[in-house]
Amino acid sequence: MIRIENLRKEFDKGVVALDSINLTFDEGSFIALLGPSGCGKTTTLNCIAGLLEPTSGSIYFDDRDVTNLAPKDRNIGMVFQSYALYPHMKVIDNIAFSLKQKGMPKAERHEKARQMARKLQIEHLLDRMPGELSGGQQQRVSMARALVKEPQVLLLDEPMSNLDARLKIEIRDEIRRIQQDLGVTSIIVTHDQEEAMAMADKIAILDNGRIQQFDTPEMLYHKPANLFVAHFMGNPPMNFIDASVEEEDGTLWLRGGSFRVKAPAAMAEKLAGKAGQAVVIGVRSHQMNVLLAPAEETMELHLSLVENLGKDIMISGDLDDALVRVTIPANFEGSYEQLRELRRQGGSVYLKLHEDYNIFDRESGVNLLI
């Protein structure tokens, strides 16, 4: 188990890079630190590695307080964005470097390096120099180097951002497979939400040096804690429509510039007593039905773009002041051609929300439904 308590890091001139970071996760789990650049995710990782000294707070591996230990005393393996292989050593010596530092005899450490290389399918590269390897191969070598010492924690600092898109998917599956094989607790830093969703058991989303939400990929996607997380997760991005809460004869309504929809029963409970509050409706592109004619509680969307994405048809347009993207559902009554024609004429379609959208407070950005 790894426990991070109230971690805070200030740099020179009082720049606060991290503030009140609290994370706890189990042995063997795979955690992602996700966020835009400058959010503090790499700083967090470096504090866990011991490469940076936190200003305050503590880090525990199991019950061992490692906050003030040097990196070499923490039993961690680390993979860097640029791989950071030692350019003057053969691959096998790169992998065995940490074992050499422990004073393990050459034959033994080479044997261990060979075993680890076999697991990562790079045995044929052991006698080469790092400069002779491709990016993907260097990546595997740096994984082998991090894992050969059987670390308690594996830290991955944007390990795939230098790879091309196809290799990225291959390597990320590989990392996940090895991680599960060895059962090593792992933390990955990434700015790619798709990567984080695909690999991690739980994701911590950071912004401005604070954790915005620490949850499973599913929860982050379906129940984002605030507008930042909602903006960050999912592709296409969530749609945001301004509205306000209205109460009429005990029924709660959401009123926008051009529409009024009834809040579903489950939602109404959470919104009780919030009449008059300015909110944002957060709805994903597949969380609504598309009609060709207006009906009760529909929202009018002025079409501006119709795209055929192969698997889906995606339309976009203006709804009040918001740009809204909708994935056309399978049960749509019209056709692609019809939509194209409609757009050419400057026409509209009508959206009917499903019941699983989210509502955020417009001022604080907090999700009002959780």
Binding site: A49, G50, A70, K72, F80, A84, M89, F97, Q101, A146
Partner: protein
């Protein structure tokens, strides 16, 4: 297109030609003259008379030659070794251990002072410092520490003194080169090594030094060139003495040619040095080429 390129080339040659002329007149011609002179018995009478390889035979016969050759090897070898070691020490200290670039640079600027001081001024400072009378600074310190008699430092430790004086002027260059080399090592390599269990000394040994191996070779060869041909410091401080204790090859060429007016003989001694230097330059070229190749 092709015409255009040729015109551009012509222009480049045009711009370069003044320098080419200067170099030819001031450098290559004297060099050729020196080579020719090496096979003559030219002396103060200024009669060009070829005497075959007599001058070279004379070099071999001279009982001082082995001493001078050994002095040169000793002087260059010890100075190079100490220069490279000190360069590495200062570069690693100022760039790797002192993370504050400004403080490191202040220190490096101080190291540069001897290098930018004119050789004559610098040597006179040494003479003044090591004066044999009780008024010399070294003697004042020595006597304050309990020495009974003022020492004639230069007469007593001539070799140590010329090496120390040369050393001070040569460390700035290598330190600068090594510093920028240390700086260009990606930070993540240090981090990886630290995570892998390396202490600071292991990082120096396993990461920094191997990364600097080409720079070290280059500086060693480059400084060797400089030391082989430059004799100003020695000439001004000891002038090769006492006796021939600090006479090195280049200085002996100067002495033979200009003190004894044996121009032909002096030229022959220089020619031997030129051959050695040319071989060294070929080695440098090969090293640089190898470095380019292993980088790409």
């Amino acid at each position: 297109m092709k015409q255009n390129m040729r015109q551009k080339n012509m222009q480049a040659y045009l711009f370069l030609s003044p320098f080419l002329v200067f170099i030819t007149v001031l450098y290559i011609l004297p060099a050729i003259l020196t080579v020719i002179m090496a096979f003559t018995s030219l002396d103060s009478a200024f009669i060009w008379k070829f005497n075959g390889i007599n001058n070279f035979r004379k070099i071999l016969m001279d009982p001082n030659t082995p001493i001078i050759a050994w002095n040169t090897v000793k002087y260059v070898g010890i100075t190079i070794f100490l220069t490279v070691v000190l360069d590495l020490f200062f570069a690693i200290m100022t760039t790797y251990f002192i993370r504050d670039e400004r403080k490191g640079n202040i220190f490096k600027s101080i190291l540069m002072i001897p290098m930018i001081t004119p050789g004559v001024v610098y040597s006179v400072l040494w003479l003044w410092l090591l004066e044999a009378t009780p008024n010399g600074l070294a003697n004042k310190v020595y006597m304050a520490l309990g020495g009974s008699e003022p020492l004639n430092w230069i007469a007593q430790y001539p070799f140590v003194i010329i090496i120390a004086a040369t050393l001070l002027t040569s460390i700035a260059y290598g330190t600068t080169v090594f510093s920028s080399a240390v700086k260009s090592i990606p930070e993540n390599q240090f981090r990886a090594a630290r995570v892998d269990g390396a202490g600071e000394w292991e990082i120096v040994r396993n990461i920094i030094l191997p990364n600097l191996r080409f720079h070290i070779t280059f500086i060693a060869l480059w400084e060797t060139l400089g030391l082989l041909t430059n004799y100003v410091t020695i000439m001004l401080i000891t002038n090769g003495g006492p006796g021939v204790q600090t006479e090195v090859w280049a200085l002996s060429a100067y002495h033979k040619a200009f003190s004894d007016s044996q121009y032909g003989y002096g030229a022959a001694i220089s020619l031997v040095l030129i051959v050695v230097v040319m071989v060294l330059m070929l080695v440098i070229g090969a090293v640089m080429h190898h470095q380019e190749k292993s980088r790409s």
